[in-house]
Symmetry: C2
Subunit: 531 residues, 2 copies
């Protein structure tokens, strides 16, 4: 087993100790950061680009976050910047649907969103990890108000059609029973000397103490129905006041059912570093970010510009595009090009790039998630079930139900995320009409929330494989394509450099788009100064 060796730790500790003695706490802190203690991101502050050659110009393709950030920083560095955007709005997948919005998907189905004012669906990104420092930095700089996104909620459900008779169980009860039984079983194994070869006597004793405390085991190292275990899993009758205040313990679940994959996949999901608390969302909808970014480059964006060709020679880049509003064909010329067009679209555009880059562009398939927003007449999940934000996972095609994180405790209609379908579920939901998707979300969701039918008002859905301007949600790399194509994809191809979540290892996240953009423009700027 690869473990942090005692010797290695001692050396680092000795180093820190020596720094602490000679340089004080500030020096110690910087040393700790350098040694990886406080490092959380590859973001080290906004780029210090400056001194662009007089008259140097860049054309940016796509006004999603990667394109907007590239334009903002390059413009600040002194470049003449033009952005070409296919849609009539900026932000790209940073997108929010609200009441009154109309959306037409590939295939022609049009939805008119009927949500009440203030309610929304974020079809694309919907949550921001606390360690996505680039995004958080620019949100702060550009004045985007953020509020907590309650990702992890012990009171939300774990639902499996294969376990507990199809009844949704509170996360707290299945997780407590999983941990408690694991602790009990490991305690028994230690007791039977099965791990004497693995652990020293002292560590076996420390571990037994840990298992008892973590797993809520009794004095005999058993995980049993008791007020103690109810202290984790919840009570049959919770503690109260006055004459009948004494609590009653809850019964344990059958361990066979607790071993249903929905239980441990949920537990593992919430320990996923990307999904860990604290998370955030913009107040008012995710597109507040795209709008704030776009305000920084107001006047540089040409909307309704459908790029058909990217040409380059030793003197510059020429981008041919159609003004979809007038139908006219136009050209944009610049010294350099930052192309943030999703690979799924870019693969269909004539581009003068190396064969290797062309192959890389074609090599990466896109995912096909489907989201369904459902508006209900009241927040029954809050009022009836004490669920405030968070996610209930299910093994049905909808994947999950995620509760709104804004306007807690309010009256009136609210929108929850009634499906976030991926893989086969995404494929199947994308094959349905918008109305059928809503029906599927209701039919599957009511297995978790029986109030669904009574409280339902309206719904809206986005199947990413049918979004005309991306033909998919985000790039799906695998080990093989990373090895063969990634470095080619991100390398400058003469005067063109690609950027976007697809040109990062933080795929499907806004942070990936931004980090990719900063890396790309840093290299572009260096090349431009060398040229």
């Amino acid at each position: 087993m690869v473990m942090n060796s005692g010797a290695g730790r001692t050396t680092r500790r000795q180093l820190l100790s020596a720094i602490g003695m000679t340089g004080g706490t500030a020096a110690l802190y910087h040393a700790m950061t350098a040694l990886g203690h406080a490092a959380e991101t590859q973001f080290t502050g906004p780029p210090a680009l400056s001194g662009a050659r007089k008259g140097a110009s860049v054309v940016v393709l796509g006004a999603g976050l990667a394109g907007l950030l590239a334009a903002y920083e390059l413009n600040k560095a002194g470049y003449k910047v033009q952005i070409l955007e296919f849609q009539n709005r900026a932000g790209g997948r940073n997108w929010t649907l609200r009441g009154g919005d109309t959306y037409t998907e590939l295939g022609g189905a049009t939805q008119k969103v009927a949500f009440a004012p203030g309610n929304y669906l974020n079809p694309g990104p919907w949550r921001i990890p606390h360690h996505h420092r680039t995004l958080l930095h620019y949100c702060r700089q550009f004045g985007v108000a953020l509020e907590p996104f309650i990702q992890f909620n012990h009171a939300a459900y774990v639902h499996s059609t294969d376990a507990f008779g199809g009844k949704p169980m509170r996360y707290r009860e299945v997780a407590a029973d999983f941990e408690g039984r694991v602790a009990e079983l490991l305690g028994k194994a230690i007791d039977q000397k099965a791990l004497d070869a693995e652990l020293t006597l002292e560590d076996r004793e420390r571990l037994l103490e840990a298992l008892r405390g973590w797993g809520m085991l009794d004095k005999d190292m058993r995980y049993v129905s008791s007020l103690q275990t109810s202290g984790h899993r919840g009570y049959a009758r919770p503690p109260g006041g006055g004459v009948n205040g004494a609590p009653l313990p809850s019964e344990l679940l059958d361990f066979h059912e607790v071993l249903d994959p929905q239980v441990w996949t949920s537990m593992s999901f919430f320990m996923n570093h990307t999904m860990q608390t604290t998370m955030f969302q913009p107040v008012g909808g995710m597109d507040m970010i795209g709008k704030a970014f776009a305000r920084q480059v107001e006047g540089l964006i040409t909307y309704n510009a459908k790029v058909s060709r990217i040409a380059q020679d030793e003197r510059g880049v020429t981008v041919s595009y159609q003004d979809t509003a007038s139908g006219a064909m136009k050209e944009a010329k610049a010294d350099w090009c930052v192309c943030t067009i999703p690979l799924s679209i870019l693969a269909q555009i004539e581009a003068e790039v190396s064969d290797e880059l062309a192959a890389a562009i074609r090599a990466v398939p896109y995912t096909g998630q489907v989201k369904v927003g459902l508006e209900f007449a009241r927040r029954f999940w809050e009022e009836d079930e004490a669920i405030y934000g968070g996610i209930s996972f299910t093994n049905q095609e909808i994947g999950l139900v995620s509760y709104p994180n804004n306007a807690f405790f309010s009256n009136g209609p609210a929108v929850l995320l009634g499906a976030f379908a991926r893989d086969m579920g995404g494929y199947r939901l994308a094959g349905m009409t918008p109305q059928e998707r809503i029906e599927a979300a209701l039919a599957q969701g009511e297995a978790i929330h029986p109030q669904y039918r009574k409280e339902f008002l309206s719904g809206a859905s986005v199947a990413w494989s049918r979004v005309p301007w991306t033909l998919g949600c985000c790039a799906r790399w695998n080990e093989e394509t990373r090895k063969t194509h990634y470095q080619t994809l991100v390398a400058m191809d003469r005067r063109v450099v690609l950027a976007g979540e697809h040109a990062s290892y933080v795929g499907c996240w806004m942070e990936g788009a931004l980090l990719s953009s900063l890396d790309a423009i840093g290299r572009l700027h260096k090349r431009a100064l060398e040229a």
Copy 2:
């Protein structure tokens, strides 16, 4: 082991299934609630008290939440209500200290709080569990705006002077390593057939699959340094964008150190039902609740009333009190009395109650927590360390550092909770001067945050054992006192009934005070109608 027997489950499942088939989902939901599935609290809605006898009156002692709620509901039911309150404000332990406030503790030390506008310390209650339905109900009814309290934060620290060379570790890394190694060890035990007698072959296979997924084990069921395990514990270099986007795995911690009690006590703490997500706090400070409750009974409260005697006979209750503003002795008379005075104070007041109740009042000691609020020039925990809310636990006397949950990402000074000392730590901090407490909080806290000294502005502390009007934080029941005294304490003593967190099984929580109050006034009203 007491387990939910298969037979029992089947019966319940069959029952639910039958209901589902005949009555539809609404009936199913109600049945599920009745069977305990959705039950989260003893609160079943506000009491429906009405029809008080004409002219019937109640004197309520104490304008904390229990007293305020009793007065509000009894007044609504038709009683003539008067509240006597020792302090010159309502709310009791529901209390917030802000810049400009002055507080004098027992012993005479006076603190003038110097926090910037908007910053505060909640000396008493500071967070609200999502299942404290009574409190949440009245907050909503009385218009108290609530915001999330980020209790659980994977990025906060676990700190022990006995482990990791005294270096604070991110919760995510110690928890991931604890879970991963537990999973690996249990996998080995199963492999060695140590648990064949405990589990069926099928369940052993299900468990192995669960351990692999939950514990991030590799194909050989080992927990090793890898991108997979870094996906839970964090990376040495996190995923990024562009050329250097590929992440690097982090090293694992020494398991001996991971077994430090601070690790598993933190993990267990966050699974405590009372501490589980989602939690809330009032926008602007905890006393927004006390103020909102007090607004409902405006005009019924007599402030500065120091109760010295509670007398009762067959005709009514007479409470003698001193108007501490004028020094004058006064009397309040009523048919009934709801006494919410903390037992620590009540034990010193002459009261005509049974010997048994008098003994119960004297039997319950009070805890002596100490809180220290520290104001810093900037949110270095957010800016430098990506910690947004949540708690870092330490084995030092300060107990923890808790980060503010309001105004995330803002500039300017912010207040964190620099100590929440209990038991021996509380005793020791209470013995210090306010200035010494701040120095202790700084000295211990800088082991976690080296930025402390550089950024510190001012501090304030409350040692509950020195709070003149409670002489302690809350009632500390044990198994023996519950058995001997609890039912006596909550029972009506002729015309007097006690209420407050001390008269509940939800001790030290506002919910306990409210549930106790509702139970007490329900019984009082019944008795009053029978009398």
